[in-house]
């Protein structure tokens, strides 16, 4: 079982915080933000590679949590619902025309370097560039799978996609990444 699927589940505590938030207790929102903002930000940053956009998405995600508190019903884990919110926000933001050139800007130089630190930087840049170059849905699927540790089923639940769609996205994404990063493998 993947770690993210089996770690201690604070679902009861999150659901209780949402109940408190619905009753108007703003400190419940503060707790939810502090508990989950790093996860939201990580997804947003990996999707956009922009600190400012990532922060914007974090804020908007929790404002949506706040707005929805009165109608929130814990049919799924809070984190799953939160992933759905941040996924939608990321995809919406990336559709903005001013971000269309993100993948072009992100290309890393391929020249070899004898310096170990410089080589590590090149490798890091190449990984980021390769992920940024993926189509948005493949990128999101990889981010949720590789970095958030979600299983195929949890990704489907978090995005609203079918499991077969998730499988297809991941197969294509990992194949592309394998080919793009061939040079940097030991």
């Amino acid at each position: 079982m993947r770690l993210a699927d089996s770690e201690p589940d604070p679902a009861v505590a999150d659901a209780e915080l949402m109940r408190q938030l619905a009753a108007g207790r703003m400190e419940a929102l503060a707790t939810l933000v502090r508990r989950h903002q790093s996860v939201v930000r990580a997804v947003a940053f990996r999707m956009t590679r922009r600190d400012d956009l990532a922060d914007d998405i974090v804020q908007e995600a929790f404002l949506r949590v706040h707005r929805s508190a009165a109608s929130y019903y814990p049919t799924a884990a809070f984190r799953t619902w939160l992933y759905r919110i941040v996924s939608n926000l990321c995809l919406d933001r990336l559709r903005s025309p001013r971000l269309a050139a993100l993948s072009e800007v992100a290309q890393a130089p391929q020249s070899a370097s004898a310096d170990a630190a410089a080589l590590a930087d090149e490798r890091r840049n190449a990984v980021q560039a390769a992920i940024a170059a993926l189509p948005e849905r493949q990128r999101l699927a990889v981010i949720l799978h590789r970095y958030e540790g979600l299983s195929h089923a949890r990704i489907a639940e978090s995005t609203g996609w079918s499991e077969s769609a998730v499988e297809s996205l991941l197969v294509r994404a990992y194949d592309t990444l394998r080919r793009q990063l061939q040079t940097f493998k030991d």
């Binding site: 930000r41 922060d55 706040h66 590590a120 890091r124 990889v142 299983s151 195929h152 990063l181």
Partner: protein
């Protein structure tokens, strides 16, 4: 039989239940092609780990709370205004209907009773920028009498 790519992905990601993992591992141990496939995928998986997220420059909770409180105040103000309008609308309809000898007003006849809850819900839709505007759904003007 060689596994599909999705099964190898699940194996490398540690998603497979133990019996399935063992069966796949047994096959891979006997299959050069699948060994190479797994090796490539595992190397890609490890390399992807280089994408680290820089720590956030600041705690966003205070800013989020401030925005949420402002939004909450706006929604409350709109809800109060909405309930006042709704009450006024009901008052007018009742007043028109109770005037002695007054003909039945087409507005009073066509205007459905609006509860405070409906008015607050409509105000909420307006606050979220929903279309059509909440009030438009509630206050549909009847035709003028000929």
């Amino acid at each position: 039989m060689c596994p599909q790519d999705t099964q190898l992905i699940r194996l490398v990601a540690g998603e497979l239940p133990e019996p399935e993992r063992r069966a796949l591992a047994d096959h891979i141990a006997r299959c050069d092609t699948c060994q190479a496939r797994q090796r490539e995928l595992a190397a890609t998986w490890d390399l992807l780990g280089e994408f680290q997220v820089p720590p956030a420059g600041r705690d966003l909770a205070p800013q989020i709370l401030a925005r949420a409180r402002r939004a909450g105040l706006v929604r409350s103000a709109v809800a109060v205004a909405a309930s006042l309008v709704a009450a006024a609308g009901v008052g007018i309809a009742v007043g028109l209907a109770t005037l002695p000898g007054a003909p039945a007003s087409p507005v009073a006849q066509t205007q459905p009773a609006v509860t405070e809850q409906q008015a607050i819900h409509a105000a909420g839709l307006d606050a979220l920028g929903a279309e059509p505007l909440g009030f438009d759904e509630l206050f549909v003007m009847g035709e003028e009498p000929q």
